[in-house]
């Protein structure tokens, strides 16, 4: 007798979202990237479609970052040249897209001007053909100026801009609407707050398929199980037809993984932990793969080797398991 296999039927799917614009659509990208669209739990291809593979964005900063040497050494030649840095990520390390963080704008740091920030964005746009994710320096007032200017200067490029938060989402949302970009809605590891922010942004009339959610994550060993369950709840919500939870998910993997003690501590301090670089790579790629399983769509990463491992894993996960 044939065994009847029970399959979960889902009412709805994750929103599909396009990043970047080619010349036909008023941009200068050589390719665009589509994320989301899943109509099943992550990689449950036997229950629904996973039309677009998760993507990896490599992180580039506008000033030389204070990163761990195990990562920074790969970019030593380009760390103060964002354009060249981005180009290296794409051409040498296979980044699907570039995540440009304008940390240098921070008033307590390098305090780069709005014009300088805009110039950096243009430099990176000119250097690579992949779509761009651009975020500010996380100073509310400065970001308001910088991101508004970036949105305007890059009108038509269909960027992904961050970060909108509950207390501070209006100006970025307005900029995204006027200049036709997408927004990252960031909430503090709580499914309700994640949903609330999406409602607030959509009530300003930004289309739902222009929002990506960053529900905040923790690195491996630092609360990743919370992140896992939030991502899972968001996906279940999306599949059950909750439009306000149906956006693709972005995860700040590199940032979280590399700030852990396990990734950053030197071998001299912890000989029993083994070689530091290998540890860091494993920490970053394991964090990424757990979140992939939970339903992340865009992974923001740093180390070339971790990127390689995760991209390979994505490829394998995308092999159809439908039956």
């Amino acid at each position: 007798m044939a065994v009847e296999i029970l399959k979960e039927k889902n009412r709805s799917a994750v929103q599909e979202l396009v990043l970047g614009a080619t010349s036909e659509n008023g941009g200068t990208r050589t390719k665009t990237i589509t994320v989301g669209g899943d109509s099943a739990l992550p990689f449950h291809q036997f229950e629904g479609a996973t039309p677009n593979r998760p993507v990896v964005a490599m992180e580039v900063q506008d000033i030389k970052p204070e990163w761990n040497d195990a990562v920074l050494k790969y970019f030593a030649d380009v760390a103060d040249k964002p354009g060249a840095w981005a180009k290296k990520c794409v051409e040498e390390y296979g980044a699907d897209l570039i995540y440009l963080k304008l940390d240098g704008a921070h008033p307590d740091g390098a305090n780069r001007s709005v014009e300088q920030c805009v110039a950096t964005v243009k430099e990176v746009l000119a250097a690579v053909g992949v779509p761009l994710i651009v975020v500010g320096c996380e100073n509310e007032e400065k970001d308001h100026e910088v991101m508004t200017a970036v949105a305007e200067a890059a009108a038509g490029e269909n960027l992904l801009l961050g970060f909108a938060e509950t207390d501070n989402y209006k100006s970025l949302t307005a900029a995204c609407m006027v200049h036709k970009h997408n927004i990252i809605a960031r909430s503090p590891l709580d499914i309700n707050m994640c949903k609330q922010l999406n409602i607030l942004i959509s009530e300003m009339n930004l289309a739902l398929n222009r929002i990506v959610i960053d529900p905040s994550i923790g690195g491996l060993g630092y609360g990743i199980e919370y992140a896992y369950s939030i991502l899972e709840r968001a996906r279940l919500g999306a599949l059950q037809g909750d439009k306000m939870l149906s956006m693709p998910i972005i995860a700040t993997v590199g940032f979280e993984a590399w700030k852990t003690k396990e990734a950053g501590a030197s071998e001299a301090d912890y000989p029993e932990w083994g070689p530091q670089e290998e540890r860091g790579i494993m920490w970053e790629s394991t964090t990424a793969s757990a979140l992939l399983q939970a339903g992340a769509h865009i992974l923001l990463m740093r180390h070339p080797k971790s990127v390689e491992i995760v991209k390979k894993q994505i490829e394998q996960l995308m092999v159809s398991n439908a039956y």
């Binding site: 709580d190 707050m193 409602i199 009530e203």
Partner: protein, 624 residues
């Protein structure tokens, strides 16, 4: 027949009426409900409207406002086409329930039989054949009155008895007091004495204290008084108070604070009514478990620690002097029994007053105070839970918040576009602050006109209207300018206040959801919702739903019942059977602890939104 058209603003409704009809009659045709407490006699002045154009022939004219002619709608006949503006305070609020009127019929099915009462008895003198002692002779007669219960007397009164009986020709007036299981003689007066005796019904809230002065002979409430609980200086909520009670002298300070609050309120009442404090014989107190502990000087320490155990939930009767009440030295005090550590005598009083435990209907009772307590049940069963809502709805911890007293803004309208405000205050006083119902109204209206997003942040900027401005911590909205207010500052609501209120309403709503979820009961099958709390004269159900404080259900299901804690205390003061019923309610009710598991937290966060993260729970609000 000549007809005239009457246009009402700001509704912009025009109706035609026969010439000679009054504006009030025209308003009725237009469906505009005016306040007419004197019934159209022209004596209350509540129905005043502004004539914006044309003349009307008026019998009475008052000129409170120089710009327009103000006339009494009930007295003014329409003689030609006219436009009138109906001010907010001339309108009857939707869902307006007045408090004081209800007390008259508070007893419901319970008999009027005060806790303390007087009887005059004439004894037959003893003889050689009938030689029972004086007390047995008196006790025998009293027994006929009190029935089965034992009657006792203390030594001080006995010392006088022999002489008094003989001097007054065997006639004596006895003051009796119901105690738990027996009746005590607390006073003896020679002859027939009809001096009145009095009682107090008291609600000790975490934030406010309310006292009713009651004539025990008639059962009438002679006057009411309320103020903030002086314990507030030791912290806003019960947890802070418990912490303070553990400090050196802390427990004594807390007891003194609440006793002083009661003394102060009582002295004011006694002075006003010219009654001697010694005439007050009985007091009933309804309070949450912690307030009752602190009032009696019981250490509440273990209420806060798992597994949350109070010293007692049935409290002994005490004498006023034992707790240090000076205003009423002869009074005997009863505290309403509690259910658990976090559901106290105030809730038992509320259940008693609303009669939930006598009805077939499934009823949800919510008492919105510093603690939000919720009771669900009917005559078969009662289950309760509590959540910490904070004192915001009682006007505490809010920039311009205040108790619902003279001058408190309790209703607000905001004009879309211009953001001009109009408001109603308690007793039509000059505005001095905002009370709970005004705060609820304010948030609903701010969201309605688009000034507030669903997270409770102002969407508008200072350049959009001069009513929005920046303060140290964000933005604020000016409800009433200093020049129109009865205080030396603008009356504002700040973003911080709004966050505070959203947390309060979120806690209440989450509590309701958790209680119903745990019993797997749908909101829809609850027949009746009673809402209690010291909001003001009324609570606008529409607004309360709009901000997500109450579930989105048909308005008929709701009834606002005001401060049921003091009303329940009052019932037990004037009815011994009501007191017995209260004890029974306390025993019958079960308590559910919300802090077990994550559900409450999850529900709470999803309720921190206007009206709620799950908009599908509020279909009527969405369609607005």
């Amino acid at each position: 027949m000549i007809t005239c058209s009457v246009t009402f603003l700001p509704d912009n409704i025009t109706v035609s009426v026969e010439k000679g009809k009054t504006i009030a009659e025209a308003a009725q045709i237009a469906g505009i409900k005016l306040k007419m407490p004197c019934g159209g006699e022209g004596s209350c002045g509540k129905c005043a409207v502004k004539v914006m154009s044309n003349r009307v022939s008026d019998n009475v004219e008052i000129s409170l406002d120089q710009k327009f002619e103000q006339v009494l709608a009930c007295q003014t006949e329409v003689s030609e086409d006219v436009t009138v503006e109906v001010p907010v305070n001339a309108r009857l609020g939707e869902h307006q329930v007045l408090l004081s009127a209800e007390d008259d019929n508070a007893l419901g099915t319970f008999a009027f039989e005060p806790l303390c009462w007087k009887v005059t008895i004439t004894l037959s003198p003893p003889s050689i054949n009938e030689n029972a002692s004086d007390w047995i002779r008196l006790k025998g007669e009293l027994g006929k009155i009190v029935g089965d219960e034992e009657v006792i007397i203390g030594l001080p009164l006995l010392t006088n008895l022999a002489h008094m009986l003989r001097d007054a020709s065997w006639q004596v007036t006895v003051t009796l007091l119901q105690q738990d299981g027996y009746v005590e003689v607390i006073d003896l007066q020679p002859g027939a004495n009809d001096e009145p005796i009095y009682g107090l019904a008291i609600d000790i809230g975490t934030t406010t204290v309310v006292v009713y002065l009651v004539d025990l002979c008639s059962g009438k409430v002679l006057d009411r008084n309320g103020t903030y609980n002086k314990q507030a200086v030791y912290g806003d909520d019960v947890i802070a108070r418990i912490i303070h009670s553990q400090e050196k002298n802390g427990l004594q300070e807390l007891q003194d604070a609440v006793v002083n609050t009661i003394d102060e309120l009582t002295n004011q009442l006694l002075k006003k009514t010219r009654i001697e404090g010694t005439g007050v014989k009985a007091i009933t107190i309804a309070a949450n478990t912690i307030m009752t502990h602190l009032f009696l000087g019981l250490d509440p320490k273990y209420i806060r620690l798992e597994p949350y155990i109070p010293t007692t939930s049935q409290f002994p009767a005490v004498k006023a002097t034992e707790v240090g009440l000076r205003s009423v030295p002869n009074a005997n005090i009863y505290c309403m029994p509690s259910v658990g550590s976090y559901v106290g005598g105030d809730i038992v009083a509320g259940v008693l007053y609303t009669g939930i435990s006598q009805k077939d209907e499934l009823t949800l009772f919510i008492d919105i105070g510093t603690n939000g307590e919720i009771v669900l049940g009917n005559k078969e069963w009662l289950i309760s839970c509590a959540c910490s809502a904070g004192p915001a709805f009682e006007g505490s911890g809010i920039t311009c918040g205040m108790r619902a007293m003279h001058g408190a803004i309790e209703r607000i309208q905001i004009t879309p576009g211009t953001y001009e405000t109009r408001y109603e205050t308690v007793e039509d006083g000059k505005p001095t602050g905002i009370c709970g119902s005004g705060l609820i109204d304010c948030i609903a209206k701010l969201h309605h006109v688009g000034l507030l997003d669903r997270a409770g942040r102002f969407t508008a900027d200072t350049q959009d209207t001069n009513r929005i401005r920046n303060n140290e911590e964000g933005k604020e909205f000016v409800i009433s300018w200093e020049k129109e207010a009865g205080v030396d500052n603008d009356i504002v609501i700040t973003e911080g206040d709004i966050q505070n209120l959203i947390r309060s309403k979120g806690a209440i709503f989450a509590g309701i959801r958790c209680l119903l979820n745990s019993l797997q009961i749908d909101m829809e099958i609850v027949d009746k919702f009673y809402i209690a709390g010291g909001f003001g004269n009324y609570l606008n159900i529409n607004d309360a739903i709009e901000i997500g404080l109450l579930p989105d259900l048909p308005h008929e299901k709701y009834q606002f019942v005001g401060n049921t804690s003091v009303k329940g205390a009052y019932m037990t003061l004037i009815s011994r059977s009501a007191l017995k019923a209260a004890v029974e309610i306390g025993r019958k009710m079960t308590y559910m602890e919300l802090s077990v598991g994550n559900e409450f937290m999850d529900e709470f966060v999803s309720a921190l939104f206007l009206p709620h993260t799950d908009l599908s729970l509020f279909p009527s609000v969405q369609s607005n």
